[in-house]
Symmetry: C2
Subunit: 125 residues, 2 copies
């Protein structure tokens, strides 16, 4: 029953829907790009742990279980290319590097916090 | 320089980081699952257009350009399995089906809106 109904909807003409969805904007390209960027596997987790302040590579690894060195390197490079994360080289011997959110990265905080709250409320027991 | 610094960080012992990240919680599993769920290709776009109210299959297709019938079917099934979207069969001849966000789906609104605002502010020109 449900299957045939769906088939019916698939095959109907576009004439009526043009009217029905008039005034509703298409999904914006920028939002779509944001979802693809932030929703990429591990990226959301990396952003979450960096919201509390800069971390060294090994510290991120420690806070995001199951994330490999290779994937973390890859994700950090992507986030640096998008100017969401920046690498900071700290003076001293041995030299140390840490990763910090830029202003653009920090601006993701409301979205990340809201999703975290949703997860706690709706995906828990 | 940056490369060698990163190598140094990779190879340092875990002893110091245990102290440095003490008190900072690990990325929570529920949040990670939420990112994987909502961040999946096209899922964010489908949620965005459904926030304004129920839509038929062909209407979603119309509002999310470049999304194929096959992928939309797949994503809707996944969202139904997670109880984020529900299918409603409307009386009448021919029978009509529409897709609506459940309470769990509507609860994603703050996260979706926040991400959309970020995209507009930071990914635009």
């Amino acid at each position: 029953m449900a299957a045939s109904a769906v088939t019916e909807v698939h095959s109907e003409t576009r004439a009526t829907e043009e009217g029905a969805v008039a005034g509703r904007s298409e999904c914006c390209q920028l939002y779509h790009r944001a979802v693809e960027l932030v929703g990429k596997r591990w990226t959301g987790a990396i952003l979450l742990v960096l919201l509390d302040g800069p971390l060294r590579f090994s510290e991120i690894r420690h806070l995001v279980p199951d994330l490999s060195d290779r994937l973390l390197s890859e994700r950090l490079k992507e986030l640096e290319a998008e100017h969401i994360v920046e690498q900071r080289v700290l003076d001293g011997s041995p030299v140390r590097v840490e990763y910090a959110l830029t202003s653009k990265g920090m601006a993701l905080e409301p979205a990340v916090r809201a999703l975290k709250a949703w997860a706690k409320n709706w995906l828990g027991d």
